[in-house]
């Protein structure tokens, strides 16, 4: 009996030794630093550049696409991939739909093998300004100067809304293609308002009267997503910009001294305080997240709620069938410089092509296909949200939310504006809105709000790690 035992033990020892060798040998590979990785050769392309194929994509090169699968889903991306596949039938396309953008992609950027196209969005998006300043994003100038798919005589640059070009800028060159046009405002249920004979107000005085009427009807006039004070902060800035003009927001984005001390900011802050003090804000909304507060709004517990044009799509599962999600502009404070029918807009869902992508040319071509009327029209059809592509939504039947935001987009025209400080100086964003939350809960005065916001902006400007930017 001893011999077989010894044999098996020897065998075991040998196997254990092999296992150890593998484990320790592997460790030298695995123990490589988290930031390590060789840079590898990159770029792709190399085929002849033609009018049909302006970036010289090699037809057999695979394409790796990572899409933020959030409120818009990722079905639209699968359609865009089918457009690419139609053009380059031999290319194998790898599609990843995820909300975990940074956790998935951080190691790939550090390892020098990022995907070819990324929809960089959501709560876990990659820090764009950091990627841009370390030269990891492809310059999109070639894309913008290429001919558009629909009309070879028109450059891509001219086939999109001008806000796209402004929002694309990172460190002096276009690097991010923001695809979706978002309209911000106060949202209400048109059906309820029609039944009750209410109209969204144009002036502050009218708005207060309306709030009083709504309150008497047993509904809270305003709810907001208290756990994410960014939403109500948008309303604060919206009213301030309409009152003081676009210079107000330009000064804030530029971290200029005393930008937050502007009298228009004070007026807007006082207005929000008045709503809280007159008890026009849903009780306890400060502690609700976006799902809870928006659901309360869908249930008719509140009349208005601030949000962007994704709201209708986001609330589809809980909104009653006949709920007519409609956007209204914010009311004008006395002496406002801008007209009432304009609002804040933004270009969102930032698509990027990594500089070190294996098939960078393919990535750019994917973006060009996405910016065709066919690609953009399909996006609007699937998600109900407008894109930055001019005229892509023409002829589509729109839902009440999409139709009202398109109308507001049109009536505002050149008066519409965007803001960038939250994206440019990400460490400042949450702390700033946290101060807004204190203001709308009436725990601080408008003066304290302005002082604290200004101090935060000044500290951000002084921080050597901040890349300070100014806008046109």
């Amino acid at each position: 009996m001893t011999t077989p035992n010894n044999l098996s033990r020897r065998l075991f020892l040998q196997r254990a030794a092999v296992g150890t060798l593998l484990a320790t040998g592997g460790s030298t590979l695995l123990a490589a630093c988290a930031s390590g990785g060789d840079e590898g050769d990159t770029g792709g392309g190399g085929a002849d550049k033609t009018a049909e194929n302006p970036f010289g994509v090699k037809k057999e090169d695979p394409l790796d696409v990572v899409i933020f699968k959030g409120g818009y889903g990722d079905d639209y991306a699968k359609f865009h991939e089918s457009l690419y596949k139609k053009k380059f039938a031999e290319s194998a396309i790898k599609h990843t739909g995820t909300t975990e953008i940074t956790p998935t992609l951080q190691p790939r950027f550090n390892g020098g093998n990022p995907p070819d196209v990324i929809d960089n969005s959501g709560a876990k998006m990659l820090p764009v300004s950091t990627l841009a300043s370390s030269g990891q994003l492809a310059d999109l100038t070639a894309l913008l100067d290429a001919a558009s798919i629909d009309d070879p005589a028109v450059k891509v640059r001219d086939s999109v809304e001008p806000i796209t070009l402004e929002a694309a800028q990172q460190g002096g060159k276009p690097a991010v293609l923001n695809y979706v046009l978002t309209v911000y405002g106060l949202w209400y249920n048109k059906k309820l308002f029609t039944e009750k004979g209410w109209e969204p107000a144009k002036t502050w005085a009218e708005f207060l009267t309306l709030c009083e009427t709504i309150k008497k009807a047993g509904i809270a006039p305003l709810a907001h997503q208290g756990k994410h004070p960014y939403y109500i902060g948008q309303i604060l800035l919206d009213m301030a910009v309409k009152h003081g003009g676009k210079d107000v927001i330009k000064a804030i984005d530029g971290l200029e001294p005393n930008a937050w001390m502007h009298p228009s900011i004070k007026l807007a802050a006082e207005a929000l305080l008045e709503l809280k003090k007159k008890d026009y804000i849903l009780k306890g909304t400060e502690g609700l997240d976006h799902i809870q507060s928006q659901t309360a709004w869908n249930q008719g517990k509140a009349a208005f709620i601030p949000s962007g044009s994704w709201l209708e799509n986001e609330q589809k599962p809980v909104a009653p069938k006949d709920f007519a999600t409609t956007v209204a502009f914010t009311p004008l404070l006395d002496g406002a410089k801008l007209p009432v029918d304009c609002t804040e807009i933004s270009a969102g869902e930032g698509f990027i092509v990594p500089e070190k992508a294996k098939n960078k040319a393919g990535g750019l071509e994917y973006l060009r296909l996405m910016l065709s009327k066919e690609g953009a029209g399909k996006f609007t059809e699937l998600t109900g949200s407008p894109t930055v592509v001019k005229g892509a939504a023409e002829g589509l039947t729109l839902s009440p939310g999409a139709a009202s935001s398109s109308a507001l987009l049109k009536s505002g025209a050149d008066n519409n504006w965007s803001t960038y400080f939250g994206d440019w100086y990400s460490p400042m964003r949450d702390p700033l809105y946290s101060i807004v939350a204190e203001l709308v809960a009436a725990r601080i005065t408008s003066d304290e709000f302005q002082k604290r916001a200004q101090k935060l902006a000044d500290d951000t400007a002084k921080d050597p790690k901040t890349v300070k930017r100014t806008r046109s």
Partner: protein, 303 residues
């Protein structure tokens, strides 16, 4: 033959040791290294900046606030958890009637043990979601509906900067009491029942048996519990991230170090700075564990 057996043992340990080195030691070492750089977290390029991150950290008001909150948790959580679980474990073990059959626990102590232990089988995010729904700040939140019916009025709970941190603390305590109850319970059942009986026959009250018998004999277990709870209180990241406004709010009232590390490392593109915070947290944890073990050391009692 000795040599042979040494090799045999080593071959068993090699794999776990290699795994430990790769997944524990190496990330720690890397964090120390990165804390001295300006690494963004998303670029293979970075430069060495010496102790700059640490000097910035010393002036960071939000991090200091976060540290303060961790200290409040560090004091409150172990005290409350150990107190509550000791009391409950004592009641379960020797809280019942004593008669000729000896000292007994309260009736149905198996059920109580199960009920108290239940939170332990739930994951922390589940606990956080349950409690943030219970503590909803509107009038129709669960807790608010009950307190209103009882005529106690309503509270904003997590939406109030004054009490948000204590709401988080309460949830931590609620989630931990069950485990330590079971731990203390096991340790208590290890104490021979005749010691209690002898004391009771000699006329000792319940209180004095607790302080003079149970507590001294449980000291080792309590000490271990204290260190574990302290480490948990220094973290608190998951609860804060799921439950609070912001997260970390309102008005930074629930900021903790773990949250600051995550924000800086993954959102602000300041992984080097976040590593510096991690290093500070590492030494704090080490220091506190060492101090606790030293300060509470007593002679072991054999029985």
């Amino acid at each position: 033959m000795r040599h042979g057996s040494y090799r045999f043992v080593a071959s068993f340990l090699a794999i776990p040791l290699a795994l430990y080195a790769i997944f524990v030691i190496s990330p720690f070492a890397q964090a120390f290294y990165y804390s001295l750089t300006d690494w963004t977290g998303v670029s293979p390029k970075f430069k060495f900046v010496g102790f700059e991150n640490f000097s910035t950290l010393a002036k960071d008001a939000v991090f200091r606030a976060a540290l303060g909150h961790n200290v409040i948790l560090l004091i409150g959580v172990p005290l409350l958890v150990i107190f509550l679980s000791l009391v409950f474990a004592y009641l379960l073990n020797v809280g019942g009637r004593s008669n000729s059959a000896g000292v007994q626990g309260v009736r149905g102590n198996g059920f109580y043990k199960l009920a108290f232990f239940l939170p332990q089988v739930l994951s922390i995010p589940v606990i956080a979601v349950i409690w943030s729904v219970v503590m909803t700040s509107t009038d129709n939140g669960l807790a608010n509906t009950v307190t209103k019916k009882l005529g106690l009025g309503t509270s904003e709970y997590l939406a109030s900067p004054k009490i948000a941190l204590y709401c988080v603390m309460w949830v931590m305590v609620w989630g931990s009491v069950g485990f330590y109850l079971v731990l203390f319970n096991a340790a208590m059942s290890g104490i021979p029942k005749d010691i209690f009986e002898a004391a009771i026959i000699d006329g000792a009250t319940r209180l004095s048996t607790f302080f003079r018998i149970t507590l001294p004999l449980l000291w080792d277990t309590i000490q271990t519990a204290w260190v574990y709870l302290a480490i948990m209180a220094l973290d608190a990241y998951a609860l804060v991230a799921v439950m609070t406004a912001g997260p970390g709010g309102p008005d930074n009232s629930t900021q903790v170090m773990g949250l600051q590390i995550a924000n800086n490392g993954f959102q602000f593109g300041r992984a080097g700075y976040a590593s510096a915070m991690g290093v500070v947290l590492f030494f704090l944890t080490l220091l506190i564990a060492a101090v606790m073990l030293r300060a509470t050391r007593r002679d072991r009692i054999e029985y």
